[in-house]
Symmetry: D2
Subunit: 439 residues, 4 copies
Amino acid sequence: MNARFFPEVAPLKYAGPTSRDTFVYRWYDKNRVVLGKRMEDHLRFAVAYWHSFTWPGGDPFGGETFLRPWMHGSDEMELARAKAEVAFELFRVLDVPFFAFHDRDIAPEGRSLKESNANVRAIADVFAKKMETEKVRLLWGTANLFSNRRFMAGAATNPDPEVFAYAAAQVKNVLEVTHELGGENYVLWGGREGYETLLNTSLPRELDQMGRFLNLVVEHKYKIGFKGTILIEPKPQEPTKHQYDFDVGTVYGLLCRAGLEKEVKVNIEANHATLAGHSFEHEIAMAAALGIFGSIDMNKGDAQSGWDTDQFPTNVEDTALAFYEILKAGGYTTGGTNFDAKIRRQSIEPEDLVLAHAAAIDVCARALLIAADMFEDGALRKAVDARYARWDESENKAMLAPGASLEAIAARVEAQRLDPQPRSGRQERFEALVGSYLR
Amino acid sequence: MNARFFPEVAPLKYAGPTSRDTFVYRWYDKNRVVLGKRMEDHLRFAVAYWHSFTWPGGDPFGGETFLRPWMHGSDEMELARAKAEVAFELFRVLDVPFFAFHDRDIAPEGRSLKESNANVRAIADVFAKKMETEKVRLLWGTANLFSNRRFMAGAATNPDPEVFAYAAAQVKNVLEVTHELGGENYVLWGGREGYETLLNTSLPRELDQMGRFLNLVVEHKYKIGFKGTILIEPKPQEPTKHQYDFDVGTVYGLLCRAGLEKEVKVNIEANHATLAGHSFEHEIAMAAALGIFGSIDMNKGDAQSGWDTDQFPTNVEDTALAFYEILKAGGYTTGGTNFDAKIRRQSIEPEDLVLAHAAAIDVCARALLIAADMFEDGALRKAVDARYARWDESENKAMLAPGASLEAIAARVEAQRLDPQPRSGRQERFEALVGSYLR
Amino acid sequence: MNARFFPEVAPLKYAGPTSRDTFVYRWYDKNRVVLGKRMEDHLRFAVAYWHSFTWPGGDPFGGETFLRPWMHGSDEMELARAKAEVAFELFRVLDVPFFAFHDRDIAPEGRSLKESNANVRAIADVFAKKMETEKVRLLWGTANLFSNRRFMAGAATNPDPEVFAYAAAQVKNVLEVTHELGGENYVLWGGREGYETLLNTSLPRELDQMGRFLNLVVEHKYKIGFKGTILIEPKPQEPTKHQYDFDVGTVYGLLCRAGLEKEVKVNIEANHATLAGHSFEHEIAMAAALGIFGSIDMNKGDAQSGWDTDQFPTNVEDTALAFYEILKAGGYTTGGTNFDAKIRRQSIEPEDLVLAHAAAIDVCARALLIAADMFEDGALRKAVDARYARWDESENKAMLAPGASLEAIAARVEAQRLDPQPRSGRQERFEALVGSYLR
Amino acid sequence: MNARFFPEVAPLKYAGPTSRDTFVYRWYDKNRVVLGKRMEDHLRFAVAYWHSFTWPGGDPFGGETFLRPWMHGSDEMELARAKAEVAFELFRVLDVPFFAFHDRDIAPEGRSLKESNANVRAIADVFAKKMETEKVRLLWGTANLFSNRRFMAGAATNPDPEVFAYAAAQVKNVLEVTHELGGENYVLWGGREGYETLLNTSLPRELDQMGRFLNLVVEHKYKIGFKGTILIEPKPQEPTKHQYDFDVGTVYGLLCRAGLEKEVKVNIEANHATLAGHSFEHEIAMAAALGIFGSIDMNKGDAQSGWDTDQFPTNVEDTALAFYEILKAGGYTTGGTNFDAKIRRQSIEPEDLVLAHAAAIDVCARALLIAADMFEDGALRKAVDARYARWDESENKAMLAPGASLEAIAARVEAQRLDPQPRSGRQERFEALVGSYLR
Ligand SMILES: [Co+2]
Ligand SMILES: [Co+2]
Ligand SMILES: [Co+2]
Ligand SMILES: [Co+2]
Ligand SMILES: [Co+2]
Ligand SMILES: [Co+2]
Ligand SMILES: [Co+2]
Ligand SMILES: [Co+2]
């Protein structure tokens, strides 16, 4: 494990779209200024620990395919340290500014929560040490509250209050570790917060438990002075058949119910959006409209599979539409573009891990350039504004203001003999316009 | 059109499960007392005007199949009156206590909104007259804000403020007509409140328009003294690709955003639930937990088709699970079981309309009996209570109360060396238990 | 491991629908004669080794939940023998006539194929010994050609011919073992016969490989004198994104291409049918119409999840429709009702395994009784026959016979001025009729 | 109706990717030679009559939006002639080489089949006259056997033999008209060949009827000397819940059953492929591998809607993958790229029809250039060939040839101690490679 794991030592460099080299960026030029900001600062890429270093390549019908050296051995903490070496090697090779992790990704479960937490802190110390010399920073940390069998019926929403307590204690530790490592966000993904069958479930109890848990986390954030953002990652199903954090709209409702709609934002994953019946850009735009847009988990699903395939994004056009919405939302503040994506289980070579990330980074960079053109050119925005322009006329604006009433509006319709004629929505023209920015 | 349209004059009577007759009820025995209430009062069946009397049997690949006499003629108001005769004939044959309608179902569109509204009132007068002698009452009225081409880009959320005004004036009329006919609810279904492509859409504007529209309706309700419930019917897509009223959870969030979560409830349609990725019973239970359960549109979809097939319910077991949740929610107040269901377009005989409703009524009645057994027996409830019982212990309850903190909980976990062990969720046993109530 | 694993020693007995006992059958009365045959002989239940004894309860987001004693230890063959004890204990407790297995379910992988095959034979010897005294027989055996990483890109359709060879040698062993154990069928499930991305795939090569592999298996069947049926189990996707054995219709085409449509039949799994966009009964009826119906894997999926949830069947009405098609197809010959179903991963108690099977057996038995009533009563069949009756008139029959031509038919249409009027399909009436058999 | 319907008279011209003009082609340069063939000859674009000139803009929740002048009037044949004028105007404006139609698209239904057929011939004469001076040719004709209520239960598969006869006579007419107009193919789309409920259906009868009908058509083709290709267009569902022509694999099986696998090919529609759970390129590649690739209906669906949205293609990358498979299949012979696509119902301006087609033509042209680069460069093909290279070694090839046996192969595995190790499938690298051709 002393030797390099990846084939290339030097960080990948920008070589331009026509380069024929293998280990280069064709579109990601981190210092290039786009809409007044460096590409790196726009995109804020993060590599995720779990898929790249912790997942062994299994699926429900077959086991491990990767046979990574740090997955086989007897001293688990030693293996965790070896894994950290490889992780930071990849961060360096890819030259990305961020990474992200679950507690269980980075350190083994101990014989007690105390020991588990200590393991997490020990590896966090390794990270802290490395981060003194490496440029990579922590986009977010999170607690894995779904893999261990104790969480099989949920964490905050478990019928067993001791599991709630255990989860709370685990989150406390990771939130603090995240704070100490300078993390910019803390994420909650309710992987088993939901139910398998309504028959054995008390929905009112579980919703109350979840709301209270969330408040406890927010209160602790303030107590320890964490300045980052608390993020919820919506997902409609899988592993739990019905998950409470179904999508952005549902999470917003639950935040309102818990009085937290100003405190908590969302981390939107592309494949989770599509599994919920939305487009990725819909979920981003909806979050922005509701004031809760935070960060994204970049990946793609397979529209013909009903599960979370977590593939690396490949389609530049689709990705551009997502970044266009992010630009419209004002870009990230504490958020970033985290690759919650895994190489296919047949991609067993170390270089596949490098190439998959590099290709995805290029897809996003190319998409950002297209989105920036769309944004800067303004043709789309102007066409949209024109469509709604009459709403800015005073008589129309008044209908949305206090004092309006159905009676007054009905009287106007009759008096003015209103008979509004439809106007073309010009969808194909809008779509063609988007195509014209493609490069 | 003077002759009876349906083969049977006499109202269908209860004849018991073993009857071999065709035009009878095998399970619906309206005066039978179940859980202290007459079946009729539990189920509060309604027949819907649109599918049964207004839809001609077309689909996207073929036109009219039914050739109903009231759909062919030159005097539209005359046809509307003939249609009302047939409708009330069916209400009488089925012996159901309620019906429901859209304005455009009952009366033709006029050359102006004023004329259209007058047409609606004219037929409402026919209804009022009939309701003096018939027992049938109005479950709810609603405005059709989606069929006319003026609404092709939405009603409240239209980019054209005049369409908003037109829709407001139309809703005012139907709300008042509903009030005058003694309707118990008023429903809003946002059939085109959403967007086809995000590219030509301003999401923030449309959400604001929708919220304001809803407030105008609620304000008018109070102004005219309507005591019924305002209901929103969620639907995830179709006709609009993305509809804002996606599901119960999303509607709850939008109600919170508009400050209306105490004012407006939901009318949950079975097929809309499944199209949104939920079960029907999930949506009912979620609405109950959020305090917004109102009424249901009973039907079923085809799990393998992605559109709203609006079939009559046929599966007793599935239907029993929905009624069990309704019983758990305390039953209906102003709501009811509205058949938003249509006969298949090949079912062209008048008697198909009678038989389809009768069979569905029996499915619901049988389901209610099963659900009542489940409810009364209590075995399911006790098993659920037992699962959460430890949450009622004071130390555990305290975690959900003010004063709890992650720190205190974490200290407890460590002090008590909590290591919660999972307990079987017994899903198959719960499912088998449900099966044992089947009859 | 000497003690009993399951709570009940005695085989479950029929106790009737109203029994309140836990470990009994309410509907499965194996000696009851239905349509001239014992229920046991109609249903031919089989317990599957893999889900019940080999799967540890993991899912993509969490590991083992069951902690079965035979899954933890150092001597793998010893554990395999312990597992066989428990398996036969369950067969006895459930009193089912059949079981089914993959080679890798029953015995550990060795250091070479030779050793693996020897392990399989060693456990087969254990089975043979047990089967001398137990009544249980082997419904089918099959080779696991998907779990080991060597099969990650397919078995017969692997780009590496050595994997094809390895798979062929493995199938030879299991086919022979199945033959020796008196198995009534041999199943092939192409779990990774397909592709993940068309980009790296040669479809023509893979289809040729698959066709040839199948012929090799059929040839070997004759060589060793195996009288059972060779079955293919269709599945549309998962684990492989696109699997070649998509559904019954596709398998039929591939069999024709390989010249095997008279030699090979299908093993139809309920959840695979629904994943392919069909109903279970559709796939059975289609296989019967194409002359390739063999056996079934009984389970159910979740219509709202896009993966193979392999749940135990719970819905009596849906199951009755499947058995009705099996009765129409003449019932099983060598086939049977294999429970390719797993308890939910939260159902961690040994008794959950018993209760889940018992409940599913009762669902099937109850469904069979309903289906038999439907079949015997004949009302459905007569109504269908009436619908097509005119096809038996000679002029109409002639259109389907040699000698007919478009010209002659067109001349008839003109001469007779044919203007066929549609007749009601009476779908709701047919559905209501089915409901009337429910019990 | 004498005035031009479309805003531009002159045919659209190629103006290059950077042109800012509205009515031009940016990528479609018909005379540009790509892989030795003119773009026009590669792509063979066709405009479809039905969506563009016959569909009024309705959907299941709303009626006509387009209000085309040729849809309103009393003399239906006059309107049909006016429609033909507009159609040929669009063919000219777009400068496409082909068009396609159903009989009912071009001419009104008469009071008898004889009259209907005469109407079709009358408009066909109009076409023939126009085609003397216009360059546009007929890609294919087809009979509409699904819109009229007589076909509500199917055409060839109708329980009523007179409907079969009627359909046969109608097909005879359109096949002859297609032949006379020099059509290059004749298409059958089984829009209602399937069933709504298995309960009222005889599957064996219907499959036999369908097979015989197809043979009658093929026999008539030879009788009249039609040299074109008979094509079946697969579709999994909609309008009929289960359609027999589900997908390419299923159609192949049905062709084998009817003995027609050498006589009939497939017309593959993009959205039908995705509705069946496949990718468009999968269906093309599968048809090519099975020897039945014919033509395509180019469009796209909405992956989140379960129905056939028939949208114009917009995604260049996805489209390039389809054209890459067409190039691999050797390109079209009699087939072409027919736009079975409709503008959105909100796109009510005449120019929307021009712009939608023009944008789609550009998407396809751009996609062809990318696909041609992929094909010519050969990097993908070489990488695929390398993956399967060992299959060309004699010992491996022999396994697929007569004489091989499981015994011999198993002996080899043992003798050579084969233990094949998996090799990376390099999916992400293949995907990135595709991205590098994007322009
Ligand atoms: Co994620
Ligand atoms: Co994911
Ligand atoms: Co409804
Ligand atoms: Co509906
Ligand atoms: Co199976
Ligand atoms: Co399965
Ligand atoms: Co088509
Ligand atoms: Co289509």
